[in-house]
Symmetry: C2
Subunit: 232 residues, 2 copies
Amino acid sequence: MSLPTNEYIPHISYDSVIFGFSGEKLKILILEYHNMKTYALPGGFVKMDEPLDDAVKRGLTERTGLDKIYLEQFHTFGSMQRFKPEIMRRILEEQGHQVEDHWMLGRFITVGYYALINYESVTPTPDALSDSIDWYDYDQLPELMMDHRELVEKALEHLRIHLDHKLLSFNLLPDKFTMKELQQVYEAILGEELNRANFQRKMLSLGILQRHDKLYTGGSHKAPYLYSFKKA
Amino acid sequence: MSLPTNEYIPHISYDSVIFGFSGEKLKILILEYHNMKTYALPGGFVKMDEPLDDAVKRGLTERTGLDKIYLEQFHTFGSMQRFKPEIMRRILEEQGHQVEDHWMLGRFITVGYYALINYESVTPTPDALSDSIDWYDYDQLPELMMDHRELVEKALEHLRIHLDHKLLSFNLLPDKFTMKELQQVYEAILGEELNRANFQRKMLSLGILQRHDKLYTGGSHKAPYLYSFKKA
DNA sequence: AGTTTATTGTATCGTTGTGAAACAATGGTA
DNA sequence: TACCATTGTTTCACAACGATACAATAAACT
């Protein structure tokens, strides 16, 4: 895997908060630089003649193996606090790159995106500079480099506000799911418990759910229906 | 007034949609390049060691004469459609600038901000490249360069969504205003008429309005109260 | 087969929010 | 004093919502 050369626009980057959902928890994909014990969000750069959105999609596909991903831009970060050339210098050195006057040591303004993906369909793959990439529970994130924690918070804030508005929660679930699973996604994102009966009433009243066969799990209780989102 | 040199970050710009309100209409500040009959949003560039937000505030203060302005970032635009070097080349030439390899001819990713300001307190001032700056009714905007029309629409969309959430409409009004004026701001932004009684009930129930003396305009009818927003 | 238990689906009830309309108050004019 | 235009408030029907209760049912246990 090769390091980006300066066919890329200098001083501009993107970072992505990739949300997944599993075991009743909201999860985020985090890169690690092992030797430095440093954690970061997956990100990348924009080629000179490449649309910004395409650059982000390209990076996401590389990190996740997925092709069509729900993606939303939420904020662009341009403070000077995020200019920490020493960290980037050490990362480059660790990987044996020529460091003097390297374009990645400049100041970067970064565009934040978040993605919602189906946890089970992903095969996380590290990028050229990092050693591993793994899922972390949102409430057990390691300390992240630069302002990446702030990006996560702002992404989640944006997601919460738009959760109902765009009905995007289904991107975190498989094609078919139970009402309970859907509720758990909402609860994980909102960080609060919801009333079961009212949640069901609300979701069904929206008229966007298709009811399928029941799911017999073997549990000694009533079997839940499976639902899918109606395609518009 | 001098043209920016390359103490600025290349390939990054900002553009601002500056909203005002007057005569029951929502208005936007638009720059004009007279000789080219071209219209554009006020924008600018970010200095190498300058926070993005500061750069935008700097530009807004220069354009409006105002110091403290309600400002919100809404989206970053990075498509290739917005790369139109011929237009920028002609603008530079019109102003008698050296054009070959000029850094402003490169591709730009632009960060969109919108501002809400009190129409009456503004003294609009053109920038180094434009000939005039004027208020235009939102529903009578001239054709704008590049994707600036798209920026306006996206800014307004963002503003509509957050109108209630952050109660920011008061930034468009003087310190004291009548309920009717407040309603007119809402109607101008939302683009629809609202029920007078219900609007009043809603606003008063929020508990954020301070009622003052009545305003006697000389009209032969009941005088309205003046209100101001309670300072948090 | 009947009973029990855990879970899901639905109904009910009181409260709150909202749209539409009516009513009341009031500053000026004829 | 009657009238008009506008503003402030109330009313009423209805939708939305939170909390709770009730009904249905799949499997396990007697």
